[in-house]
């Protein structure tokens, strides 16, 4: 027994040493942390170092008190602008890399490291890079790097979520298929100028949004194989404000200021940013004990109330550019009539649902466009305020008659609905429970299947029509700045339904399809807004997809954070160079 215990103890101690020192912490490139370190050792940045003399003249870079501490959950480590696929990875990417364009607080695209011109036929976008841009390793950023970044997305090897961004460029299908070695869509004109050619027929004001991805340094990322390329994900190098100092999977990402940032007037004030994995349950504790500067807790009235009375923190909210929605499977006999769908919405008290979960941090959804967008129609939309009589009348009109067992029937079909609910977050369960009560009164036999998010996605998307076994499910998403509705959940012809596209409602109308395309191709913003209003009115009446709510995002920061600028179109990384910490 003693021996076993002794062995266990010995093993534990050994593991402490291994775990403490080891791991595969990805320390940044040697020049990332302390390029000006006097002694050349990598740990010279500690407060006791005293040998450093950074570009800004402050001794002891980085000062631990001048590091912004941010809470994350689920950083995946795909720190590459063309591969990152979750919001926290995206934050890291936007701190390290820079895109050619950006957008302002109103959602208007603005030059970032390049200015652009569009040809009169809207088919050629010519970008001119600013002078003397360099990557954090000192190498100049040129048109070649821009072309390399976009060509990589189009290349046959590419596996990632950004393919759509180059899909409208000329010659994409041939290049992607490997039929040709030259990508017609991208043309390097000179060291500072690069032109993108849009394929005929794909011109749209929405195309500009694809030119904001961070630019990769070709001399680092132009490697032999795709595996070599993705191996660079955890040690990214870009031209942005910050550089990677240390990344430990499931622990933290530590970034330091890029002291050699090319645009000296825009250099960040912070010495660094520490993004630590902190579970939602510990966020309040972390703020109370002063271990955190910035976080986005889940949107809930409980959270809002807790942070509002907490000392030493500031809490703010803003309407998000997105919405939550409820998808009807319109191909089932129960839900094919739009009056039935309207009846279901009239008998679902969304106002009560929002007040219960979100308090004032949400509003009733009307159309698949966020109220923050210029395309949002300000009038004429039905909010389907709770009205059981109206709901009953609509059911009667649609021919669904109340049966003896309290369930409506029509032509041999019972009004049986199956709602797929995921329990990863609370709101779908709450909404479906609310519906279960009021819809029973309406004569609907609702069954609720609870599962995880991935399963809902698997049972609804990518499933051929005849195998779709659901009536309703809910989801939420953030939308792009451009209000374009094509390719989404709204019934496109090329979203071939039997192959299981994203149009899970199965609802398709040729005139709506054409109008979505017309709106996508229209360059006059006033006319575009009119088209989106017409579309919003159609969706609001037909309800293939009922928009449930518009949500707010909640942000909490410690009192020492100054200069924070957050809005629906600009996240905290946009102007992070202006953030300072009062100690």
């Amino acid at each position: 027994m003693k021996k076993i215990l002794a062995t266990l103890l010995a093993v534990s101690l050994l593991l402490v040493m291994v775990a403490a020192c080891g791991g595969n912490a990805n320390t940044g490139t040697p020049d990332s942390g302390t390029p000006d370190s006097g002694t050349g050792t990598t740990d010279s940045g500690t407060a006791d170092g005293g040998t450093t003399d950074s570009g800004t003249g402050d001794a002891g870079f980085p000062d631990p008190n001048n590091i912004l501490r941010f809470a994350t959950t689920g950083i995946a480590g795909n720190f590459n602008p063309i591969l990152a696929n979750n919001v926290y990875d995206q934050y890291v990417v936007s701190l390290i890399f820079e895109g050619m364009i950006s957008n302002d607080a109103s959602g208007t695209f603005i030059p970032h490291i390049a200015t652009w011109e569009v040809s009169s036929d809207h088919l050629t976008y010519t970008f001119t890079l600013e002078d003397s841009i360099t990557f954090s390793d000192g190498t100049p950023l040129t048109a070649e790097d821009v072309a390399f970044t976009y060509t990589t997305i189009a290349s046959p090897e590419y596996i990632g979520p950004r393919g759509y961004a180059v899909a409208s460029l000329k010659g994409y299908p041939e290049f992607r298929a490997g039929d040709t070695d030259t990508f017609e869509g991208v043309e390097v004109i000179d060291e500072k100028t690069v032109a993108f050619h849009i394929a005929d027929g794909a011109e749209s004001p929405a195309n500009i949004q694809f030119f904001g991805f961070g630019i990769l340094p070709k001399h680092i990322y132009d490697v032999a194989t795709w595996d070599d390329f993705t191996a660079l994900n955890t040690s990214p190098v870009g031209s942005g404000w910050f550089v990677m100092e240390e990344y430990r999977d499931k622990e933290f990402v530590l970034l330091h200021r890029n002291n050699d940032y090319w645009n000296t007037s825009e250099k960040p004030i912070l010495d660094g940013i520490l993004m630590s994995e902190i579970p939602e349950e510990s966020l309040q504790g972390a703020f109370m004990t002063g271990q955190l500067d910035l976080a986005q807790p889940q949107t809930s009235s409980d959270n809002w109330d807790a942070y509002s009375v907490m000392d030493g923190v500031f809490v703010q909210s803003h309407l998000a550019n997105g919405y939550t929605y409820l998808q009807f499977n319109t191909l089932t006999p129960q839900l094919e009539d739009y009056r039935v769908r309207q009846a279901l919405m009239y008998s679902l008290d969304r106002q009560a649902f929002i007040e219960a979960l979100f308090g004032t941090l949400g509003s009733v959804g009307l159309a698949p466009i966020s109220p923050v967008s210029w395309a949002f129609p300000t009038s004429g939309l039905n909010d389907y305020a709770f009205d059981m009589d109206r709901a009953s009348a609509l059911m009667d009109d649609a021919g669904w008659e109340m049966g003896a067992d309290g369930v409506r029937t029509k032509g041999g079909n019972r009004m049986e609905l199956k709602w797929l609910v995921y329990d990863d977050v609370a709101w779908p369960g709450v909404l479906s429970a609310l519906a279960a009560d009021s819809w029973r009164e309406l004569g609907v036999d609702l069954s609720i299947d609870i599962m995880d998010f991935e399963t809902v996605q698997a049972l609804t998307g990518g499933v051929p029509i005849e195998e779709r076994d659901f009536s309703i499910y809910t989801m939420g998403w953030s939308t792009a700045i451009d209000p374009d509705l094509t390719g989404g959940i709204f019934g496109m012809e090329d979203d071939t339904m039997d192959q299981g596209g994203f149009n899970q409602s199965g609802w398709f109308r040729q005139d709506v399809h054409d109008k979505m395309l017309e709106a996508l191709r229209e360059f006059d913003q006033g006319r575009r807004a009119e088209l989106y209003k017409e579309l919003a009115l159609i969706f609001n009446e037909q309800l293939p997809t009922a928009v449930v709510s518009y949500r707010y995002f909640v942000w909490v920061n410690s009192d020492r954070v100054q200069g924070l600028d957050i809005g629906p179109f600009v996240d905290w990384t946009y102007h992070v160079n202006k953030i300072s910490l009062a100690n």
Binding site: A19, L83, D227, K250, E251, L254, S276, P279, G501
Partner: protein, 321 residues
Amino acid sequence: MGTYIVRRLLQLIPVFLGIMVILFTIVELSPGGPLSAYLSPRMTPALRAELVERFGLNDPPVTRFFIWLGNMLRGELGSSIRLQRPVVDVLAPMISPTLLLMSLSMVFSVLVGVPAGIISATKQYTIADNSLTVFSLIGISMPSFFFGLLLLRYFSVELQWFPLFGMRDALYKPPNAFANALHVLHHMVLPVIVLGMGGVATFMRYTRSSMLEVIKSDYIRTARAKGLTEKVVIYRHALRNAMIPIITLLGFWIPSLLSGAVITESIFALPGIGRTAVEAVMTRDYPIILSISTMMAILTLLSTLIADILYAAADPRIKYD
């Protein structure tokens, strides 16, 4: 003994293959797939089909099973689909934190549970025994996530004795390896208590009942009759014999520590196999799920084997042939 071990090892092979089949089937039957991370509303069905093809998800399940089994036997774990990194690179840094958490919890469980069990047994039906019994029942029935949050609330937020999250402070620069180890240990105190609590209670119950059984046996009465002091009777004669079932329990306890680590790591935001497994399951990252499950299967098989062997070593009455 040698032949026994060899025979047991050979028996493990069909068991292992059976586990592999079941594992693969379960993963195969779970709805969903690993490609969600790549899907966007703007992705056309053609692009989606191309991705499915690239990841080899189009082959029939039987083909994929044998491809996977072959790779696994050659030690090739493949690449994570979501992270596009080799599984080995993803899992390697996660192993030592989890092993650390598990072994410290085991030590904690034994060091607290066994003495408590002895006290409980030798002082049967006293206040000490009764309160330890109540304590162990609470320890067994308390959900660990609740217990963990309770500890965090009190010791990390109110008193601030222990860190609230993580295995180290990223901004702390330890002057030497010893300070670094202390720093990590400080972070491990609460997680170890939470993960070890169930073990404390279990070891205590087992020790208590095993001790009670031994104390009532004839040779203990003989020892007492010889005039030995109570201390010698209990610690030399009774304890050694009472520990035999506990040794087996040690082996069987390892798998439950591993599953407990999943919850503990999530509450305390520690890096480790448990959290990696949860993330992989939520995103259906097949290569990661299968690799971790295989590791767990091997660990379970080996720990039961070791328990059996230790049992034989500790108890001369048990003979294997």
